[in-house]
Symmetry: C2
Subunit: 224 residues, 2 copies
DNA sequence: ACAAAAGTGTTCGATATACACCCATGT
DNA sequence: ACATGGGTGTATATCGAACACTTTTGT
């Protein structure tokens, strides 16, 4: 078997909705190249590891979370993308609800959440990877139900609407939004309410589709 | 820089519409493993080559064609997918119009077109790769204009409809199809006609969108 | 004259969009 | 009483789906 060996990493773009904005978890690089710059968490693929396993491992190491939405994004292989030599990276993106993501980036000064609208200088081609991740997330939001992956198990309809507004970057009409969600039959009302401070308590809902992927097969869309 | 090096290949799923069916170009393996089985054309990524360059090179070597639609599909990295050792493959898919694809698979007994409905035994995980390619092609067909990539420069509306019917695996209504195409303003009528044998000659059209990707940005869809 | 594919409109139901007011609660 | 976010319905436009006959050509 001929062919030159190259190094392969996985990078995991971890999204969460925090403080009313779409945020991404980045780690600060300690060593050259790009020492001090921020980077997407990632690492080398181990010899006996599937790519998705490697991505799950990185995700666990970085945030402690498991069983979250994870999807392969794209592979980046420009021979000059790493100044040290040939490194191909397989990028993944993960969606983590804010309640589960609390643990991440709290203990160390070298991991932090950044709003996608206020990104720092990034190492390697990580700017491009984030750009592409956002594009993919926006597309997926419209024809799948991945949006629910960014919410805790119980959520209000206003929170759900906020997920769509923050990611798509536009305001949606509350009445139209709620009618569509009701029509799709993907949420069930609970007998619980949440007080958001000073105003009327909001009813909580839960996501009812057993598997989000199934929706597409049924032709169900979220066309906002 | 730690991390074990692995071998990386690109595999290129080459689609074309031939004899009224969606067909794929496969090559027969001469050596073990899977000697005699059919495989997706591909090869190792060279040390100074971008992934897309590698895919374009494989495409050129296999079919002689250039400037065709090429898109990265997915990366497959199961540690056991190649019995010889760790090989990660980055799969691409290409769309080639029948008139340009004539050269491919004609000179050698070791390259042949197969209808997607009559696939032979496949090497490695190539069955899965083809399955995923078809799924992706079907999806793309509905929200982009990749369909035109499978046609020659000049085509009849019946030929265009056939592309959609063959890939989606269902009949479409001629009147609805033509109304939608006209509405999208992506084809222009020519002053030429083609005689298909015994019946009334069909008007030829050409694709007018400068770049097919732009369509999505404009919200233009092909929702058949 | 007939076989074969090309070409052409209308109706109906579903879905998207635009739009404004009352409700429950805490202070 | 008022400030805050929660909750609800209707009218119109647009789009997708169903459906059948006439036209042009070669034999």
């Amino acid at each position: 078997m001929r062919g030159e060996a190259v190094k392969v990493t996985v990078d995991v773009v971890i999204f969460s909705i925090r403080d009313g904005a779409l945020q991404v978890l980045l780690v600060r690089r300690r060593y050259e190249p790009f020492a001090g710059a921020w980077a997407i968490p990632g690492g080398f693929v181990l010899p006996d590891e599937d790519l998705e396993q490697a991505a799950l491992r990185e995700l666990r190491e970085e945030t402690g979370v498991e069983h979250v939405y994870l999807e392969q994004l794209y592979s980046f292989g420009d021979p000059k993308r790493d100044p040290r030599g040939r490194v191909i990276t397989v990028a993944y993106f993960a969606l983590v609800s804010a309640d589960r993501a609390l643990q991440a980036g709290t203990d160390a000064a070298d991991a932090r959440w950044f709003a996608m609208s206020e990104l720092p200088e990034l190492a390697f081609d990580h700017g491009r990877i984030l750009e592409y991740s956002l594009e993919r997330l926006r597309n997926k939001l419209e024809y799948t139900s991945v949006g629910f992956q960014l919410l805790p198990e119980k959520f209000t309809l206003s929170e759900l609407q906020q997920v769509y507004e923050v990611i798509l970057g536009k305001r949606l009409d509350k009445r139209n939004f709620r009618r569509k969600i009701a029509l799709l039959k993907v949420v069930a009302p609970l007998r619980e309410f949440r007080r958001q401070g000073v105003s009327r308590p909001a009813r909580l809902f839960r996501f009812t589709a057993a598997r989000f992927e199934k929706l597409k097969d049924k032709g169900i869309l979220f066309p906002f």
